[in-house]
């Protein structure tokens, strides 16, 4: 009896669930389970080019690229760029990154003044940037396709594959609010539909080139091809260190129990200022 009762309940629940199905938007895609990497998968990493060490951007060349290979802004976007450029030149820079949201792609590669590093694991290349915990890109190299409609995020969704010693990466699904930045004070939100193509490869034993093709149809007249250079250093002083963007918004203080705490610091537009006179 108890068994029959259970069966009846299950049947009713089943009917109820079935009747709910048409109301659901769509069936989620199958959740693929990745196989555990094998010893051969780990060994295969040894055949990839050596990108170990810390990579520091060529900042001088970043600036040079902007003047020698300018961004093909749409005519209607150009006045915005001119406005922010003038604001910076006149000493009123807009702080694109002051809110401590990530640079996002492709600005992380284009304008960073901080080092980054690569981690190779089976099926994935991970890029970690210094100075913010949020400078993190996962580039899947396990053969998966880009999803049709990835949830937008700051660094987009990236898949890559190796062509010889070159990592070829495609990135889509970047939030339209992410800036296409040419400096920390001048940039325009990417808008919808941006795609970033990268070919990352060594051009000298300790020089890495990111060759980028940036499609941003909302703001560019054509895809922008540009290169960013990074130099390797293996000194331990170049090891990536932790960086928490908002830490600078606080100073050390003490609560009423004597615990060490952080309290907001005095600042204006991202500049630390002396405490106001009492």
């Amino acid at each position: 009896m108890r068994a029959l009762h259970g069966t009846t309940t299950a049947a009713i629940l089943g009917l109820a669930f079935t009747s709910l199905v048409p109301a659901m938007a769509q069936t989620p895609p199958p959740d693929v389970i990745d196989p555990a990497p094998t010893a051969a998968d780990w060994a295969a990493l040894g055949k990839l080019p050596d990108w170990s060490g810390t990579w520091f951007p060529d900042i001088t060349d970043q600036d040079k690229q902007i003047t020698t290979n300018p961004v093909p802004w749409k005519p209607e976007v150009q006045p915005q760029v001119a406005f922010w450029d003038k604001e910076e030149k006149e000493g009123r820079p807009r702080g694109l990154l002051l809110n401590c949201l990530p640079h996002g792609m492709p600005s992380l590669i284009l304008i960073t003044h901080n080092a980054n590093e690569f981690l190779f694991t089976p099926g994935r290349v991970t890029l970690l940037g210094e100075s913010d915990g949020n400078r993190l890109r996962r580039i899947y190299t396990d053969g998966r396709k880009l999803p049709d409609d990835p949830d937008p995020n700051f660094h987009g969704t990236s898949v890559g594959h190796w062509e010889g010693d070159t990592l070829v990466v495609e990135t889509r699904g970047i939030l339209p609010q992410v800036f296409l930045a040419i400096s920390e004070a001048v940039g325009v939100p990417l808008g919808e539909g941006a795609v970033v193509h990268e070919r990352i490869h060594l051009i000298a034993p300790d020089t890495l080139a990111h060759d980028l093709v940036i499609e941003a149809p909302a703001i560019l007249t054509r895809p922008w091809e540009t290169r960013r250079i990074y130099y390797r250093n293996r000194k331990r002083s170049y090891d990536i260190v932790e960086g928490v963007c908002r830490q600078g918004d606080f100073e050390e203080g003490t609560d009423k129990w004597g615990n060490k705490i952080y309290v907001p610091t005095h600042q204006q537009d991202g500049n630390i200022l002396p405490p106001p006179a009492k």
Binding site: P93, R234, G243, G270
Partner: protein, 135 residues
């Protein structure tokens, strides 16, 4: 022509030299250099900008507390700095590009520890050059 190219190169180098992580330093006036003499009041070894608060002993408006911004701890480490490079009370002379709006803030250029004569610099171009040198 060569002279023009050389000047352009120097300008580019100096721009990279003062460029900092995270925000433009255009709010500081690169055409003005002020030397602040005083004592270290606070030395904050934090991201994204290390900050130095100085008790400046200059007379008149320049006296009082000044806040000076530097690059990140990671970048300063590569230039030989550490969180122990300065301590509260150190007598220093600090060259800064002051805030354009007249407030007591500045972008760091160079520091001299007056008791030892040691000079500390923080130019990103030097890190870039070291990195380009490799290894």
């Amino acid at each position: 022509m060569i002279r023009k190219t050389l000047i352009a190169a120097l300008v580019a180098l100096s721009a990279a030299g003062v460029a900092q992580a995270h925000h433009s330093f255009a709010m500081f006036d690169p055409a003005k250099v002020v030397t602040l003499q005083g004592r270290v009041k606070e030395y904050r070894w934090v991201n994204p900008h290390v900050a130095l608060l100085l008790d400046v002993t200059a007379p008149g408006n320049a006296g009082g507390v000044w806040a000076v911004e530097l690059t990140s701890p990671g970048n300063l480490t590569r230039l030989g700095w550490s969180r122990k490079s300065l301590k509260v009370g150190d007598r220093v002379a600090v060259e800064v590009n002051p805030l354009r709006d007249g407030q007591h803030g500045g972008g760091f250029r160079k520091l001299t520890l007056l008791d030892t004569g040691q000079v500390l610099q923080a130019r990103l171009i030097d890190i870039e050059k070291n990195a380009a040198g490799g290894h």
